[in-house]
């Protein structure tokens, strides 16, 4: 190993703001040639922003650029386009494959960088008319495939190859780029089976042995311990630590990732807790529950949520926590046994959750939660109107919308939840994120639910609104006895309001923790170190 002065990549004191919101607060990333460097952190810690800066993505430069310096090979580099990054020898293996199924392996490896020979026409009309040199393309492809040890004919089509192969082809393409120095792997093992993942780790070692530095973005602690040489931890856009793997342990990394946050989101209620919560009174019971939600697969969960408690569901993005409420609501195909207050729920029947008085506030406000072009009024009354037949008056055989009743209720809700708007006729799409969230909440409350699922209640809203929303949820729980289930990526918010917190990892229940459990426990649970649902 070379001296610590010799870094192939040095990113120093990187600061990035998105419209006044600091997402990176002075982050450093130092990587030596030929080492495997793990970049770790929760969702929203700033990993992807840092990588976007490294690749000169337009999203960075369209939003005012960044502060700090980037050095590649000891030279100051001004990376303002992806092309520039490519020229500097920085490559990326994408999480979603950038492969064309209808092309052969060779064509995919050489896409956009085909080797060509000139001909008479190209001499007149320019390079784009040059003839493809298939022979040399195949030779290059074979070399790249050989490097990573993939035994595959270069002329077969990619369509129909197993996922593991595709990942390798993607890597081969990056290796084929001349002068590749730094290769970023963005959660490469997320889509792979265990044996495929092992093979991938082997390939990473081979690549690193050739002097190429690897940035390994992952949250799987076991993989980091197995393959990485060093690592950097980010948290909330802040640089936490850079450590050599041999000097640290999985527990320490987990602690570093979670950190102690002292933010107080909900004021301690002065009234005594009079809720009656018991193991015998179960509001939601899941048995072998699976949901086929792309990107958020739930792979068999057993869980009991007690009537009247505030229950938190946490975990990293893509691990399946969001699949749980979406499956119950019938948005994605779900199977298994679900009981609401002891009554079985028919997952095949659309709207059955609503009939069992289960309401849901979606994490995707604009995509699922709102009719953006319709009025606040319609958004608030809609579900109750459709499911419970509220706000309808009967004229002859027709059930017509009762404008007066709807208006009264909507205005009432606007006042209760303090929705800032020009009036209830305003289109929901024009409201700010926090107010949109309140509209979603208002609709759920109009249903008068027994069980309320709230998915990412504070995503993308400012701190003031955040506090108000959480406090309102707590009030709802205390005063009306609604069972509230909060699904969130923000551990702080779950720990400040929930009675118990379930951590979901890899589509399964990792464990159920008390909000005051240690940081290391949370960190290890989220990083997939614990399997099976033990209760602490």
């Amino acid at each position: 190993m070379s001296t610590s002065e010799n870094y192939v990549l040095k990113m120093d004191n990187i600061v990035k703001e998105y419209s006044g919101n600091r997402v990176l607060k002075g982050v450093n990333l130092y990587i030596r040639p030929g080492e495997i460097h793990a970049l770790m952190g929760e969702n929203g810690a700033g990993k992807s922003t840092l990588m976007n800066i490294l690749f000169g993505m337009p999203v960075i430069h369209n939003t005012g650029g960044f502060e700090g310096t980037v050095q590649v090979n000891g030279q100051e580099a001004n990376i303002d386009t992806p092309l520039k990054a490519m020229e500097l020898g920085i490559g990326m293996v994408h999480q979603e494959f950038m492969l064309i199924p209808g092309f052969t392996v060779t064509e995919n490896i050489k896409v956009g960088r085909e080797t060509t020979t000139s001909n008479l026409v190209s001499r007149i009309f320019g390079k784009s008319m040059e003839t493809l040199d298939k022979k040399s393309m195949r030779k290059d492809a074979k070399t790249a495939l050989k490097t990573i040890g993939l035994q595959i004919e270069d002329y077969v089509k990619v369509a129909g190859l197993p996922v593991g192969y595709m990942q390798f082809i993607e890597i081969a393409r990056e290796l084929d780029k001349t002068g590749i120095k730094i290769l970023v792997f963005d959660e490469p093992t997320a889509v792979l089976t265990e044996s495929e993942a092992d093979r991938l780790l082997d390939a990473m070692r081979v690549i690193a042995a050739q002097g190429i530095a690897i940035v390994f973005i992952t949250h799987r602690l076991d993989e980091v311990m197995a393959v990485a040489d060093s690592m950097t931890v980010l948290r909330d856009g802040e640089f936490v630590a850079r450590k050599e793997i041999k000097d640290t342990s999985a527990v320490e990394i987990a602690e570093l990732m979670i950190g102690r946050k002292v933010e107080k989101l909900v004021d301690e209620s002065t009234e005594p807790d009079t809720r009656q919560i018991s193991e015998d009174n179960i509001a939601v019971s899941l048995r072998n529950y699976k949901v086929d939600m792309p990107g958020e697969q739930v792979r068999g969960i057993d869980l009991d949520i007690r009537r009247g408690e505030i229950f938190g569901i946490g975990g990293l993005a893509g691990q399946g926590k969001l699949g749980i409420p979406n499956g119950i609501q019938g948005l994605y195909k779900a199977e298994g046994e679900v009981k609401i207050n002891g009554e079985p729920l028919d997952l095949e029947k659309l709207g059955d959750a609503l009939n069992h008085k289960v309401a849901f506030v979606s994490e995707d406000r604009r995509g699922v939660g709102l009719l953006l072009e319709e009025s606040i009024e319609e958004n608030i009354i809609f579900s109750a109107m459709y499911t419970n037949g509220k706000f309808l008056k009967k004229i002859g055989w027709m059930h017509l919308y009762d404008g007066a009743a709807g208006k009264a209720h909507a205005e009432d809700m606007v006042k209760t939840l303090d929705i800032r708007c020009t009036g209830i006729r305003q289109a929901a799409g024009r409201l700010s994120g926090g107010n949109q969230q309140k509209v979603c909440l208002a609709r759920a409350l109009t249903l008068e639910p027994d069980v309320l699922f709230v998915s990412e209640p504070t995503r993308g809203i400012d701190i003031g609104a955040k506090k108000l929303v959480l406090e309102y949820l707590a009030k709802l729980n205390r005063e009306q006895g609604v069972t509230v289930i909060i699904v969130s990526s923000e551990l702080t918010e779950l720990r400040s309001i929930s009675d118990r917190i379930a951590i979901v990892s890899d589509g399964k229940l990792a464990c159920i923790l008390k909000p005051d459990a240690s940081d290391a426990d949370f960190g290890l649970a989220m990083s997939g170190a614990w399997k099976g649902g033990q209760e602490s």
Binding site: P101, G112, Y155
Partner: protein, 495 residues
């Protein structure tokens, strides 16, 4: 094996359906082949070029280009102007092509720009754009010609002097201009073009101080000279001086050429042994050569069957037109082997990947549209010079409709189209076109039924192709998800 046959039938269901339909309709029409086949070859010559112009946009992922109507309009504007200026013959035709090209390049560019703003709905956009362009076209021909640009020509203009007449007779101008270029002239021009190209190539290589393969250059020039020299032999000269080629001779020449080509390949294979390490999917197989030679022999033998012979001597092919069609097939193929063609394929398969690979997606799509529009305008000119009259307000209206239907009948889809499919489609579609009115008359006592039927077929086949494409697009994401999980478990064992 059984499954293989089933798959084959399923994949070619459209083609098979239309083969059955064509055979049935031909029998029902009670027309002799001596009528149907000459008519068919006329229509192939007329329509192939424009159908082939549809292939490039399909490759670039822009679907069936309903915008070729605009290329046809460019052709007709150019043709009207050259007719007005009194240009005739092959030189007049070439001038028309030269004039139509800049028009269609401009139109193609604009259409491409528009399509880039409506990605994903290019087809409906192209269709409506055709109707919109029709409005502008009529404005030009009804009002601008004669109204704004003074034009004094009573045979072309309406009596008031403003607006163009309904039909323009091309009999004395460019009718058959391209069809009647004698083979001898083609050969001569081809020879000189070849010499010039070789000279240019050498010049550039000298200028750039690159190595020149003298042996190869000498050999090709030698072959060219020999072929050109052959044309000075009296009987060959006489044969070549005709402008139309008897289908019988064409078949004979084709059989002969196949045999020569395959023998040549075999010899090359024996002499230049390829290193077996570079085994790709397209290695040469002597058995295939043998099969080709056998097929050629069989075809040649078939020409001695009297019924076929009678048909074969009825048909006279316009050589230059067919050469143009062949050249376009060649162009489509060669384009795919260039960087530009590969970029088009990439863009067509996935705009996201293309973008990530540094390909300028919008630019590539615009280039594809320009190619298609220009080719369509040339195709329309070939069509018009063969028909001999131009219906000013009608000749272009159905161009896109029928060309696209023909392409689809040949088994193409919104995402995949090849030269073979285009040519097969033209044969099937136009057979149906020729015989369906006659079949309608025989079966229902009214030819109009047959005409309606063929119109229905052209709309129906497009509707079906579009629906199938949309259907696949909806069904696809689900399949992919389920496959990826199962397969990775089972196949990883073989890694």
């Amino acid at each position: 094996m059984n499954k293989k046959i089933k798959d084959f039938l399923f994949q070619n269901k459209v083609v098979i359906l239309f083969v059955i339909l064509c055979v049935g309709a031909t029998i029902a029409s009670k027309q002799p082949l001596t009528f149907v086949i000459p008519e068919l070859f006329t229509r192939i010559a007329r329509n192939s070029f424009i159908v082939l112009s549809l292939i490039i946009p399909v490759i670039a992922g822009m679907g069936l280009n309903f915008g070729i109507v605009i290329g046809a309009m460019a052709a007709q504007i150019a043709l009207f102007l050259t007719t007005y200026w009194g240009l005739t013959g092959i030189s007049g035709f070439i001038a028309t092509v030269a004039l139509a090209t800049p028009f269609s390049v401009l139109f193609g560019y604009l259409v491409g720009r528009l399509f880039n703003r409506a990605k994903g709905s290019e087809m409906i956009c192209g269709l409506v754009l055709g109707y919109l362009a029709e409005g502008f076209y009529q404005f030009i021909f009804l009002f601008v010609f004669g109204g704004i640009i003074a034009m004094n020509n009573p045979t072309l203009m309406i009596a008031t002097g403003v607006g163009v007449k309904n039909t323009i007779d091309l009999k004395d101008t460019v009718k058959y201009a391209l069809d009647t270029v004698p083979m001898l002239t083609i050969l001569e021009i081809g020879f000189y073009v070849f010499l010039i190209a070789t000279a240019c190539s050498l010049g550039i290589k000298f200028f750039k101080k690159q190595a020149v393969d003298w042996k190869k250059t000498g050999l090709t020039v030698g072959i060219a000279v020999v072929i050109y020299g052959l044309s000075f032999i009296k009987p060959i000269e006489q044969f070549l001086s005709a402008d139309r080629l008897l289908l019988l001779s064409a078949v004979e020449v084709l059989c002969f050429a196949t045999v020569v080509w395959q023998v040549l390949q075999f010899v090359l294979f024996k002499v230049v042994k390829k290193n077996s390490e570079d085994a790709g999917p397209n290695t040469y197989d002597p058995r295939r050569s043998l099969a080709y030679i056998g097929a050629a022999a069989v075809v040649y033998g078939l020409t001695y069957i009297p019924a076929l012979y009678n048909v074969l001597i009825m048909v006279k092919l316009p050589v230059m037109t067919y050469l143009c069609i062949a050249a376009l097939c060649g162009f489509n193929n060669i384009l795919l082997r260039t960087r530009l063609g590969q970029n088009m394929r990439t863009v067509g398969q996935s705009r996201v990947v293309a973008n990530a690979a540094g390909i300028n997606v919008d630019r590539t799509r615009i280039i594809a549209m320009i190619f298609s529009t220009v080719l369509a305008s040339w195709g329309q000119l070939i069509f018009l010079q063969n028909v001999g009259t131009m219906s000013t307000y009608g000749a272009h209206t159905q161009v896109g409709q029928f060309a696209i239907a023909a392409l689809l009948v040949g088994g193409a889809s919104v995402q995949k189209a090849t030269n073979k499919q285009a040519l097969l489609g033209i044969v099937l579609f136009h057979t149906l076109f020729i015989v369906s009115p006659l079949a309608g008359k025989e079966l229902f006592g009214d030819p109009v039924i047959g005409e309606y039927f063929r119109v229905f077929v052209s709309y129906g086949v497009i509707a079906m192709a579009l629906a199938m494409h949309a259907w696949k697009k909806v069904a696809k994401p689900k399949e992919e998800d389920s496959v990826s999980i199962d397969e990775s478990d089972s196949q990883i064992l073989r890694v």
